[in-house]
Amino acid sequence: MVIKTLNRTEAQNAMKEWLSNYPALPGIEKDYLKIRNDIQIFNQQVRTECPQEIAKRDYYIDAHIGILLYNYLWKQPGFNLRTAANDDFWRYLSVKVVPDVVAERWGKDNESHYWSKPARIWLRSIWWYVHLSWQGDILTTIRVLEAPCFSTDSILNLEERTGRRGTFINVYRYIMYYYSHISQSTLNNFNKNTKTQQDDLFRVVMKLNTAKVMVIDPALYLGGEKEYVRALFQDAGVRV
C-alpha cells in the first residue's frame, strides 16, 4: 500500500466533506477500498462476538479491534514503525478510510478521535496500546490484554504517558505483563490502602516510572528493563 496522509488542515476539510455527504463514505483508491472492507469486516466480527453480558464492553472492543488492526497493518506492505508514528497516516485512515468504524465507537461529532488530538485518535491509540503491550505473539498478548484489571483507562494511561523524550517500549511491555499477572485480591487490597482509595496500582507504577527514569536509564539497570520494572512494583509495595 502507498502510505497516504492528511495533515491537520486537510483532515479538518476531509472530515467536513464526509459529514456533508453522510452516510456516503469518501471516495478512495482501490488499495484502500480493500483495507476499508477488511477493517469493516473485523469490526463487525468483534462486535458480534462480544459477549452481551460483558461489563467493560468498550474496553473489549478497543482491545480486540486493536489487536486485529495491529496484526492486519503489519501485513500490509509499506507499513512500518515510521508510518505508525506518523499522526497524519492515522488521520487519513480515520477520516478517509473507515470513518464509519470510528463513528460506531465514538459518534461522528467527535473530531478529537478522528484527527484533532493526536493522543486521542482512536485507531492510533488502540494500535499503540497493542504495540506497547506486545508479548511476542497474538495469543500471549491477548491473554495479557484480557486480564480483568485493564480498562479503557489503561489505554489512556499507557498512551498519554508516552514520554516527550520517546518511549521505553520494553518497559511498558513488562509493566503490562507483570500487572496482568497480579491477583485481583492483591489489587483490591492495594486500592483500599491508598490515601484516596482511588489511585490504582497501575497509575502508581506509571508515576513511579516517570520519576525514576529521570535518574536511572532502565536499560542500564542491573538485569535490564525486566528487573527495572520488577523494582518499580517492589517500590509500590507489590511483589511480582
Binding site: R8, T9, N80, L81, R82, T83, A84, A85, N86, S116, K117, P118, W128, T162, G163, R164, R165, G166, T167, F168, I169, M214, V215, I216, D217, P218, A219, L220, Y221, L222, Y228
Partner: protein, 312 residues
C-alpha cells in the same frame, strides 16, 4: 539531565575539563548491497547540534535503508571521577553510553559504549550501531552520558555518592538529527468564512510543552471579509502595517494564554524538558533569543511591535 535537583554529585564543568573527553564527529552511513555509503550531516540554521541527514547521491531515504552511526571516544585523567570528590565510589565501574530519544518515533534506547574503571590507562572506545530501515522518524536526539555500570562499596567518605546500577551521572554532549518535517513553518492560514471577523487566533493545545506549535496554534485570515483586500499581498491595497499589527496582537494573545496556565508557564520559561517544535519551545525562543519582554502586557505589546518594526 532532566533531573533538576540531584540528590548526589553529578558531572560538573570542572571535572569535564579534567577528563579531557574527546570524540570524533558522528559518522553517519548506510548499507546497500553489503557496502557502506557515507551520509552527510548538515547543520540546520547555524544550530551547532541540529543536523539534516543528506545523501549526496540521493538514494538513501529513511524509509528504504538503515541508518548507521559510528564514533570514537577517548578519555584521559578521569581518575577525578572516582572517590569522595568525584561522582562514584573508588571501586565502582562507570560506563559511557549513548542515550537516543525520539518522541516523533515514539521510541528511545541506550547504547553502551564502554567501561571506565578507576585506573590510569588512557581509554579509547568506539561505538557502531545500526538503526533498522524505517525505524526512526522526525527528530532523534543523541546524548552521551556517564552512568554507574557497577556499584562499588562506599567507604565512609563516599556515602553521599550515587551507587545504584544504571544511575545517570551527567551529560557530555548532544547531537540531533532531523529526518522529517519542514520545521519552523509559521502557522498562518487563509480561510473563507462569511460573517466571521477579518482574523482570529486558535490555540488548540492541551499540553503546550509537548504539542507542536505549527499544529495546534493557527492565525486565521478570513478571505471572505470585505477588508481582506488590505491583507492580500497580490493587491495594491495590501497594507503591511495591518499585517504586522495582526501578527503582534496574535502573538500577545498566544503568550498571554500560556501565561494563564501557571504550571506550563514555569516549565516554558525554564526551558527544561520541552519538546522540540512545541508551543513552549517557540515561546521560550521568543523570550530568550528574540528577547521579547513578556513581564507585563504593556511591555509585551511594545517589545513585540518593536521586533516586527525592525525585522520585517
Amino acid at each position: 539531565m532532566a533531573a533538576n535537583i540531584s540528590l548526589f554529585p553529578v558531572l560538573n564543568d570542572e571535572m569535564l575539563g579534567k577528563i579531557r573527553f574527546q570524540a570524533t564527529p558522528y559518522e553517519l552511513y548506510y548499507i546497500r548491497e553489503e557496502q557502506e555509503f557515507v551520509l552527510r550531516a548538515e547543520e540546520i540554521e547555524s544550530s551547532l547540534i541540529m543536523h539534516k541527514v543528506i545523501d549526496e547521491e540521493g538514494i538513501w531515504s529513511p524509509d528504504d535503508y538503515n541508518l548507521c552511526i559510528r564514533r570514537r571516544y577517548s578519555l584521559r585523567t578521569y581518575q577525578c571521577l572516582f572517590g569522595e570528590k568525584g561522582i562514584a565510589c573508588k571501586n565502582a565501574v562507570l560506563g559511557l553510553a549513548l542515550v537516543w530519544t525520539s518522541a516523533d518515533s515514539k521510541q528511545r534506547g541506550v547504547l553502551k559504549i564502554g567501561d571506565i574503571r578507576n585506573s590510569s590507562q588512557d581509554i579509547e572506545l568506539t561505538l557502531n550501531y545500526e538503526f533498522l530501515e524505517a525505524q526512526l522518524r522526525g527528530i532523534v536526539e543523541f546524548t552521551t552520558v556517564i552512568y554507574i555500570k557497577e556499584a562499588g562499596t562506599p567507604s565512609w567518605d563516599e556515602e553521599h555518592l550515587a551507587n545504584e546500577y544504571g544511575c545517570l551521572l551527567g551529560e557530555l554532549d548532544k547531537f540531533i538529527i532531523k529526518l522529517d518535517g519542514t520545521g519552523s513553518v509559521f502557522p498562518i492560514y487563509e480561510i473563507s468564512e462569511p460573517g466571521q471577523p477579518l482574523w482570529y487566533v486558535k490555540c488548540d493545545w492541551e499540553d503546550p510543552t509537548y504539542e507542536q506549535f505549527s499544529e495546534c496554534v493557527s492565525i486565521n485570515i478570513n478571505t471572505a471579509h470585505k477588508n481582506y483586500k488590505y491583507l492580500d499581498k497580490t493587491k495594491r491595497t495590501f497594507d503591511e502595517q495591518l499585517l504586522k499589527e495582526i501578527m503582534a496582537s496574535a502573538l500577545i494573545l498566544i503568550i498571554t494564554k500560556l501565561k494563564e496556565q501557571d504550571n506550563y508557564w514555569d516549565v516554558t520559561t525554564n526551558g527544561d524538558d520541552i519538546q522540540k517544535g512545541s508551543v513552549s519551545e517557540a515561546i521560550y525562543y521568543f523570550i530568550n533569543t528574540l528577547e521579547w519582554d513578556v513581564s507585563t502586557p504593556e511591555a509585551m505589546s511594545i517589545s513585540i511591535r518593536k521586533f516586527f518594526e525592525q525585522r520585517i
